[in-house]
Symmetry: C2
Subunit: 352 residues, 2 copies
């Protein structure tokens, strides 16, 4: 990137409208036990992310989860701050911070701190939460998720954009005469990225000028449908479509070995079942869209980027034809081969 | 440091009992305004701290403050995580995290994350808070500070030491069947450092096996008194005194110019008045010990390490004679000269 450029590049150097952008999506894992080095998984993840920047990836989006028992990332902004200090251009994303669990002012301060230190690289992904075990652990009724999310979103936006003290009297939070510091580097504030699946929530996302995250479990058909809803809402609002405002998460496994592909699918199905059990309500009626996908092997194979470089390229062509330009790849920090092979064998044909 | 050494060093190389240790204490500042680079103060602080490690300082303790309007650090653990990623041996301290404002489980997760990533370098300094404007801003009654602090301390300790799920039903917090991740690197947990000034609170600090922070405002006589209470409580408990479990914060300004010393004192008095105004209750009756010092110029001059290297060395001798072995110097990140001159001209005579 030529940071000295003051005029737009000549037409021949401009990225064509079909050029795609690739980032990462995932979690580190801190295992625990008497003879286990719990830090190893975190350091492996950091190294993997630092390497991804050199390989040409645009961003790294990190999950937030609590009380899993298998060590998913809980303090996402802290891990992301460490990654930020080790990188220079990588966008730093959360996918997603679950607003109902956080004091919105403390969260605004934490996010502003990483945005400021990193030179404005934070992509602030937020959501309502969907796992029963997490709401139960925090003793916050899942029924309050929506109202808590809305109130937190309002407070955080205000905290980032108020240059003078303000007060808030709400249902869950009160603040009196506060000025939130430090200021963010990005103005008016870091971009919000919202995980949304329904037409109504995508419409709200557009109304607020937020960007859209599409989760890794939904089918290609659902990706197309959501993109359609996003464009439709933009058209109604009289605004133009920027395809870089929609990021689609996809699991990836690059392999030339059919047996290896099948065992990667096995691992994925097992992992999905594990988190599904944590997330499910005692009554088995968790209504979150992310809980209600076709979880068959066939559906998983269709929705993921598992296979040879050729097979994956064909799927990328399909996504590109729908208007997808920004993918977040979940390749697993323990299998760096995926992001290396993708960068070497697949990315070049799609990023120009 | 010879990390390959497997047996204790020969007697001649051992640090004598009079050897002192020096760390830093302070805050970064993020100014705000239309034409101001708000990140500059944070980056300056990071560079200052990274240099301090090379200069032989042992630790950096960072404050937590909110809603000041002049940009003190609010998200201490996030700034500290960035510092951690840029250093290798420096101990990473908080002085102090104010427990009444935090969800104790989220805080335990954040602190565990930096402890794990940094290879066990976190010194977890905690307190009750003393500034009226902060409690007012969070809409938390200052009268609840003690009870909230006690409950948070209990939950955090339990979160770090429970290898199996636990529940908590308290006055301010409920958690149900949670296992807090990631695990800390230090076992059983990062050391607690407690800001305490009264005999009763120092006794509680000893009972709990916590280390003691002595604030930068109290007089040398008060330092001696608190050290005495700390030793007395240890003796009663039948435990021995480790002088590295008591860290004394002191403001420092190294100068050969008497006029420069006086203007440094002026700046200090002005800064103190500014935070005193934020901290004072509307009725002017804030009882916190840190609010009730002799704030005359003479008392400030006596309590600080302002002056020529010789003058400062004499004060260090006095502290050393009391049994002080660990000082946290507040030299101001904008005047790096202080930590450089101290390291070059004063530290060598006291650290061996």
């Amino acid at each position: 990137m030529n940071v000295l450029a003051t005029k737009p590049p000549p037409a021949a150097q401009m990225r064509p409208e079909t050029a795609m952008r690739f980032g990462l999506f995932g979690s580190a894992q801190a295992k625990r036990g008497p003879s286990i080095d719990s830090a190893a998984g975190f350091h492996e993840f950091v190294d993997y992310t630092v390497e991804s920047e050199a390989l040409g990836y645009h961003s790294s989006f990190i999950v937030e989860h609590h009380f899993t028992g298998f060590g998913q990332v809980s303090a996402s902004l802290n891990l992301l701050t460490w990654v930020a200090a080790r990188t220079t251009t990588l966008r730093l994303g959360t996918a997603v911070l679950v607003l109902p669990w956080h004091n919105p002012v403390l969260l605004a301060e934490q996010a502003a701190t990483i945005d400021l230190l990193s030179g404005g690289r934070l992509d602030f992904g937020v959501g309502r939460g969907y796992r029963h075990n997490e709401f139960a652990g925090f003793c916050i009724p899942m029924e309050e998720a929506e109202a808590r999310y809305e109130e937190a979103l309002e407070i955080i936006t205000r905290a980032w954009t108020s240059e003078t003290p303000f007060s808030h009297r709400g249902r869950y939070w009160n603040f009196d005469n506060i000025i939130v510091e430090p200021p963010t580097a990005q103005k008016p504030h870091p971009p919000f990225w919202v995980g949304a699946g329904s037409r109504a929530s995508i419409r709200r996302c557009v109304e607020r000028g937020h960007s859209l995250l599409i989760d890794q479990f939904c089918s290609f058909e659902q990706v197309e449908q959501r993109l359609g809803w996003f464009r439709e809402a933009l058209t109604e609002a009289g605004r133009s479509f920027d395809p870089m405002q929609v990021a689609i998460a996809r699991a990836i496994h690059v392999t030339n070995d059919p047996a290896d592909k099948q065992s990667a699918l096995d691992r994925r199905l097992a992992g999905q079942a594990r988190t599904h059990d944590l997330a499910q309500t005692p009554g088995g009626d968790n209504k979150a869209s992310i809980m209600n996908y076709d979880d068959t092997r066939e559906a998983n194979e269709a929705a993921t980027l598992f296979g040879t470089p050729d097979e994956i390229a064909k799927k990328l062509e399909r996504l590109r034809a729908m208007g997808v330009r920004y993918l977040l790849l979940n390749g697993g920090a323990t299998t760096r081969d995926n992001i290396r092979r993708f960068a070497a064998e697949i990315m070049p044909a799609f990023s120009n």
